[in-house]
């Protein structure tokens, strides 16, 4: 049972790290677009 639990924990962690990584990348891309948009406005 413990092995099964560790496997589910591992899968959960991989999914969470994937989501977090995606959110960080998205955050960075949006910031870059915001900066570009500010430059055009100026």
């Amino acid at each position: 049972m413990k092995e099964g639990l560790n496997f589910v924990l591992g899968v959960n962690l991989i999914i969470w790290f994937g989501i977090a990584f995606y959110l960080f990348i998205l955050d960075r891309k949006i910031r870059k677009l915001e900066d570009t948009s500010q430059d055009i406005k100026r």
């Binding site: 962690l13 969470w16 959110l23």
Partner: protein, 229 residues
């Protein structure tokens, strides 16, 4: 940035604690009770999102600010996403405990109705071409849609016989193990933080998209011409 890194670490800690720190609750087959740390926070965030969408819609109707409409739209989108996640995780739990993924239990039926109600919100938004009218219609619909939320989430499952386990936050039934309670509250906090992060990203994205719309460009040009004079 630091807050986001801390949130990432907090969520990681909660996932590890949900499997290794908190014990499995008695009365549930195997380790199925651990779904509590994921399923309930997802349902909580979905309800919170729909509430926020309704509040922002009321504010939009009162002030007619486009930014407030962005909040209403983003919250409704995230509400629908977390509602789908809660349905999926609940369905996995149903398979493990009740024998099949879908039983048309009152909880499952009410969540499907909720999904359809909020699905219609996006259908309505995409059906109205005029941006101003779209925002007004969506705001009115979001307020009306939220009227059904307390009924579908809290009332229906209580007035009908359900296979769903009793409510964890029910003060009349305070039977949660201290370790489980700690992880559960930590997970609620982590999911709320994740919701805020995703909400802010979506609002910023909508704001950027809004800058490309002809309505915004015309307003900006008129403002700049006014400044030159």
């Amino acid at each position: 940035m630091i807050v986001k890194v801390l949130l990432t670490l907090w969520m990681t800690a909660m996932i590890v604690a949900a499997f290794l720190y908190a014990g499995a609750a008695a009365g549930f087959p195997g380790q199925t009770s651990r779904i509590l740390f994921f399923h309930v926070p997802q349902a909580w965030v979905a309800t919170l999102s729909f509430l926020l969408s309704m509040v922002a819609s009321c504010m939009y109707l009162a002030r007619r600010r486009v930014r407030v409409d962005y909040v209403a739209l983003s919250a409704a989108e995230l509400g629908l996403l977390f509602c789908i996640l809660a349905t999926a995780t609940g369905s996995i739990f149903a398979k493990a405990t009740w024998g099949s993924f879908w039983n048309w239990d009152p909880r499952q039926t009410s969540i499907v109705i909720l999904l359809m109600i909020y699905g219609a919100y996006f259908a309505l938004r995409s059906a109205v071409p005029d941006p101003e009218k779209r925002r007004v219609f969506a705001a009115v619909y979001s307020i009306l849609a939220f009227v059904t939320v307390p009924f579908l989430v809290f009332v229906v499952p209580r007035i009908t016989a359900s296979l769903h386990p009793e409510d964890t936050m029910n003060p009349a039934n305070p039977g949660m193990d201290p370790k489980t309670l700690k992880v559960f509250l930590g997970s609620l906090f982590a999911y709320t933080g994740l919701f805020v992060w995703m909400l802010r990203l979506k609002i910023r994205l909508l704001r950027l998209e809004g800058r490309q719309e002809p309505e915004f460009i015309i307003t900006e040009k008129l403002r700049q011409e006014g400044e030159k004079r």
